[in-house]
Amino acid sequence: MQKQPITPKDIINNYGATFAFVIAIIFFSFTSMGFFSGQNLQNILVQSTSLGICAFGLTIVLISGEIDLSYAGVIGLVGAVLAGMLKEGHSIGLTTLVCMAIGLGTGLLNAILIVVLNLPSFLASVAVMFICMGAERIYNQGITTWIRDPEILSIVQAQVGPLPAGVLYLFVLFILCWFLLTQTRAGQYIQALGDNIDAVKEVGVRAQLIKFMIFVVAGLIFAFAGYVETLRIGGAVMYAGKQLMLSVLAACFLGTATFKAGKANFPGTLIGAFFLYTLLSGFTGLGMKFYLVPVAQGLILIISVAISSVRRGKIEQVQF
């Protein structure tokens, strides 16, 4: 295939959010109080860890052409169980295992509903989200539980070199995901699934099995995100996942406007996550009110999705 000449429009479509990110950093460096300091940049990194980890899980699912919103429930449930079990005096090892088992369980549930029973992924995962929120509420009775043991908190908060451990997890997971997707055969199949599932089936790849695995892996990553989020905050707040819900979606969709126009990808998601917290940090430095935060997030989501969908040329339908 011959290469098309690159027009300015293509560049905006493909790298629009990347430019916006750079411009935002420059803008805030000049205007926002104490934005461009090592401490603040580290804060941005730390704040975006659990968001970024969770967004990686969603990105895998998005690449395969489905969606999984169950993270909003899984994060909260994992947090509640983590804090609750530690309070009851269980060992951290056992607690970690239980947390991961929850991720495995919800991932399996998603996979069974979506791949085996063939339900639409959006609705099935929302149902799982509600189940998790209900379970969280029943487990912790709506009470915030704090974790006070510094040794346990250090799993995420300890300084490894210049950065906290949580940030390292984020980067390690990023490299793993990126390697899986671009350097292995399974990754190629996952990308192909999102492009044309029928072609993948024709070639003889077991598309259903891959899809099944994607949802299980995503469930595990969501549970890990909940684990990191709880230890980063130092306790399980009621419905912690609900607060992350829009940010995670926004990070993924910002990512679609960062590198590959219209397609979810890991580098884009990583930048998207940083971008979101850069904006929050910058606007807070400018003295923005707390209630404008969701406004800004909503607008960013709309703009970033609009950039990558406007040239689609026809209405996108939601099928049930």
């Binding site: 998005l62 690449i63 052409g65 489905e66 969606i67 029973l117 063939n118 339900l119 639409p120 992924s121 959006f122 609705l123 099935a124 149902a127 509600f130 189940i131 929120m133 209900g134 509420r137 029943i138 999102g194 492009d195 044309n196 599932i197 829009l246 979606l249 969709f253 679609t256 219209g262 397609k263 979810a264 009110k289 209630y291 404008l292 935060v293 969701p294 406004v295 800004a296 997030q297 909503g298 607008l299 989501l301 709309i302 999705v305 609009a306 969908s309 406007v310 040239r311 689609r312 040329g313 026809k314 209405i315 996108e316 339908q317 939601v318 099928q319 049930f320």
Partner: protein
């Protein structure tokens, strides 16, 4: 079906089937009649355990509640019929109610101006949603999710998170008053129901809207103006949401910021049940029945002393049943044609 496969956000499955009524037997009709049977059994159990369930006062309560959520459910059902989904309905209802309450209680405008302003703002937000979906080709889930969060922030910003308590008495009458011993919301509901029914079933607009959701390619080929009609569904949805919000504020006699948030789940459940009950036909009547099922279930559970977590669980289960029935009825229709 030539939906673009290349985009990563293609949600859901690609089913090509026109929805056909009647002739098929199978899992879909089983679930459909199952819903009626389950509710029949539920009503009997609740009535035996709590005889007050069937008292006149409680029935009034159920039907008033049902009337209030019916408007937003009709709107959501129309959007779903055209293949979209509006996640912002709850916040749109809240915005309309808060604006109306703010104008009449804090700024002293008369009740008609305030109500008109509330309805107008909701319709405008609906128009915005529709434009994002039809002009910018955004997925309606993402577009309305964005709207939802923008509205949450704005509502807090404008009101400072403070509830509006002082409400004129004739406004409260809208929610709690009766006419010929029938609650006012039921009158409004009856009028809106008839209009919505006539619009969807008896006009070419309405029939084309339901056709878009069934088979968008056929619509495109037969020259239906898909953009205009999809835009219209979102405008209608915004317009109807305001009724729910305003009447709920009137019933509670207080306007608070998160007033409409419960509407999203409730409207979605009622609308999905509505699509299922008559197998994709007659969605407005179906939605009304769905709304009755939902409110009576919540009411019955409250009488039985269930806590909020069980309410959520019951609503989630109901939603799942409705989705599965809807999906399987589409699939069996696709197999037959």
């Amino acid at each position: 079906m030539s939906r673009s496969n290349s985009n990563a956000t293609s949600l859901g499955h690609q089913d090509n089937g026109e929805i056909e009524s009647g002739s098929q037997k199978g899992s879909s009709s089983l679930i459909r009649y199952g819903i009626f049977v389950i509710f029949g059994i539920f009503y009997v159990i609740v009535t035996i355990l709590r005889p007050s369930f069937l008292s006149l006062g409680n029935l009034y309560d159920i039907f008033t509640e049902m009337s209030i959520i019916s408007f937003v459910s009709f709107g959501e059902a129309i959007v779903i019929a055209a293949g979209g989904l509006d996640l912002s309905v709850g916040n749109v209802a809240g915005a309309a109610a808060m604006l109306a309450c703010h104008l009449m209680s804090n700024l002293g405008y008369d009740i008609y101006t305030s109500l008109a302003a509330g309805v107008a703002i909701a319709t405008l937000i609906g128009l915005g949603n529709g434009l994002m979906v039809t002009r910018l080709h955004m997925n309606s889930l993402i577009a309305t999710l964005g709207t939802m969060f923008v509205l949450v922030g704005f509502l807090y910003g404008v009101t400072g998170g403070v509830s509006v308590h002082i409400i004129p008495e004739n406004f409260e009458y809208l929610g709690n008053g009766t006419l010929f011993s029938i609650p006012i919301p039921m009158f409004v509901m009856a009028v809106v129901f008839v209009l919505a029914y006539l619009f969807v079933e008896k006009t070419s607009y309405g029939r084309n809207i339901t056709m878009i959701g069934g088979n968008i390619e056929a619509c495109r080929l037969s020259g239906v103006n898909i953009k205009k009609l999809t835009l219209l569904t979102f405008v209608i949805c915004g317009f109807l949401s305001s009724f729910s919000g305003i009447l709920l504020a009137a019933r509670q006699a207080v306007g608070n910021v998160d007033l409409g948030e419960r509407f999203l789940l409730e409207a979605f459940i009622a609308a999905m049940l509505g699509t299922v009950i008559f197998n994709g036909k007659n969605i407005i009547t179906g939605t009304l029945i769905g709304a009755i099922f939902l409110t009576s279930m919540l009411n019955g559970l409250t009488l039985l002393g269930a806590g909020p977590q069980w309410m959520y669980l019951a609503q989630g289960a109901l939603l799942l049943i409705a989705i599965m029935a809807n999906y399987y009825s589409k699939r069996s229709a696709a197999k037959i044609t």
